[in-house]
């Protein structure tokens, strides 16, 4: 039965994990996402569904616990904020290399370094262009509401297991801290060991006589073997790009100008749309939901019909590179952003739009 709750985005992540049948959470507190661990500890899912909740000694330990849990086919996750996610990059690269499913949530704060605890979107490059070493991709989901924070946990696990690849939920301090209405679902049971053995034959579930060892590793000492791994990864990423692009459009039908923004910036841009339309400016908005795979086709198709595009992010302009590639620089693309935890106001974005 569906139930309505008023929750913070961070609490919704925790609730989504418990209710979708997540097996384990390993994390270390950091503002602005500590409510995730707090909510999990308060809800005691280990008494309800048997889900493990563990406060690790560090972010490095957390991601490696996730690596271990994922290797045996369990649905495991960790969450952190920017500096903590930097510490996890080595583990993420290993998980991608070993082709394991895992869910990581980054509630982004201002950087670089320890930066600030206020909202930011400065970790776009880190999420979609690597972050860790090697030719790998993270499926990156950008929620723009508390409901999506809840929904994307289960979606994230589904995608992670479908592609045997780590998934990142790239949120920020606004979506983490804001309280909104959320419709939550029933508690789903965790997968049984039998189910995992049958459904995920790659998992290190213990070797029966009927098959060879399942080896989980990201190390290949022979380069021809490593190249095969890379080719397999690239083929998988192509499939992902063909099937998993998600986005939302707002008033793009008659748009002469286009805003492109994700996450909380996309929410602020919806207000800009209202203000601009009142002044007779025909502007639309595209909100990428998957940052990788990036919705290049729709941005191209709508973008090239406009007079100009304003890319809005709470950073110095990172996604703008993908937007420019998508429209092949056929129309002017400009950036508006604030840094260091400052949230741009609808009016300042409207001014930037007028100066396109």
């Amino acid at each position: 039965m569906k139930e309505l709750k008023l929750m913070k985005g961070n609490e919704a992540i925790a609730e989504g994990a418990i209710r979708c049948g997540c097996d384990g959470y390993f994390g270390y507190p950091i503002t602005p996402q500590s409510e995730i661990l707090e909510h999990l500890m308060a809800e005691k899912p280990y008494e309800k569904t048997g889900m493990v909740v563990l406060q690790a000694e560090s972010e490095v330990a957390s991601i490696n616990m996730v690596y271990g849990g994922a290797a045996v086919g369990k649905r495991v996750m960790t969450t952190s904020s920017s500096p903590g996610v930097s510490l996890m990059q080595e583990g993420l690269s290993y998980i991608a290399g070993a082709e394991l499913p895992a869910l990581v949530v980054n509630v982004v704060r201002g950087g670089p370094g320890l930066g600030t605890i206020q909202p930011s979107q400065a970790d776009y490059f880190q999420s979609v262009k690597g972050g860790g070493h090697g030719d790998y991709r993270l499926i990156t989901l950008a929620p723009a509401s508390v409901q999506e924070m809840y929904d994307f946990v289960e979606l994230g696990f589904d995608l992670a297991f479908k592609y045997r690849n780590p998934v990142m939920i790239l949120s920020d301090g606004i979506i983490g801290q804001v309280m909104e209405k959320v419709e939550v679902g029933d508690y789903k049971p965790r997968w049984t060991d039998d189910y995992i053995v049958k459904t995920y034959p790659w998992a290190a579930t213990g070797k029966p006589k009927s098959r060879n060892h399942n080896i989980i590793t990201s190390l290949q000492l022979e380069s021809d073997k490593q190249e095969k791994v890379n080719l397999r990864l690239q083929a998988k990423y192509k499939e992902c790009e063909a099937n998993e692009v998600r986005y939302e459009t707002f008033q793009t039908e008659d748009a002469e100008y286009l805003l492109i923004a994700y996450g909380s910036s996309a929410r602020i841009c919806q207000k800009v749309l209202q203000l601009a339309r009142k002044e007779g400016i025909k502007v639309g908005l595209i909100r990428p939901i998957t940052l990788w795979p990036f919705p290049k086709q729709i941005i191209h198709d709508i973008g090239i019909k406009t007079k100009g595009i304003l890319n809005v992010e709470m950073n110095a302009g990172q996604m703008i590179e993908d937007v420019k590639l998508a429209v092949e620089c056929k129309v002017p693309v400009k950036h508006y952003g604030r840094f260091g935890g400052i949230v741009p106001t609808p009016s300042e974005i409207l001014n930037a739009l007028k100066n396109l």
């Binding site: 008023l6 600030t116 301090g173 106001t345 009016s347």
Partner: protein, 183 residues
């Protein structure tokens, strides 16, 4: 209908919980709601504010710089938010501790002596509910029935015995609100 509200005061005045009760009452009444706190080191002993939006439609930005209503409970918040009220909008403030009174002529301004009243009748903890009552008198966004449901949802069960007192404080607020400058 969309109502965009900023509630601002000192940390400890119940600014955030007042916003939460209002938001939860909205949820109970099947409205769309958003509750966005200022968070960060400035909250500890300093000013605290929350943006609450209640609407019949999907809510756009949870962060705003223009509001239909500002509920102001200290001088730093008056300095910061008086000019953020939309023309024709509403400003409600507690004159306790206010040294520079609002001067806008294009908005409706009401005073609510909630701090004074709360200490006079010995319900200092319900200060924020008195203020909320004042606001609901001008903008009855949620009915008493849903306010009660909102309180039930936002207070832990062990505090449910206090709900009648909270409702009474809301009634007090409705009585003591007085116009300061109206259009």
């Amino acid at each position: 209908m969309t109502e965009e509200i900023i509630i601002a005061g000192f940390g400890g005045q119940g600014v955030l919980s007042m916003g939460k009760i209002l938001a939860y009452s909205g949820v109970m009444q099947n409205k769309e709601v958003s509750w966005m706190p200022s968070y960060g080191p400035e909250m500890r002993g300093g000013t605290s504010n929350v943006t609450v939006i209640i609407s019949d439609e999907r809510i756009s930005s949870p962060c705003l710089n223009q509001f239909d209503t500002a509920i102001i409970l200290n001088q730093p918040s008056m300095d910061k938010f008086e000019n953020s009220v939309k023309p024709g909008g509403l400003l409600i403030y507690d004159p306790n501790g206010i040294t520079t009174h609002p001067t806008r002529k294009d908005i409706n301004i009401y005073q609510i002596a909630a701090a004074e009243e709360a200490s006079k009748i010995g319900i200092a903890k319900l200060f924020n509910m008195i203020v909320l009552g004042g606001f609901l008198k001008i903008k009855p966004l949620v009915t008493d029935e849903f306010l009660k449901k909102g309180l039930e949802k936002s207070l832990p069960a062990r505090h449910h015995g206090l709900i009648p007192e909270n409702i009474k404080a809301v009634e007090v607020g409705k009585e003591i609100l007085k116009p300061y400058h109206t259009l």
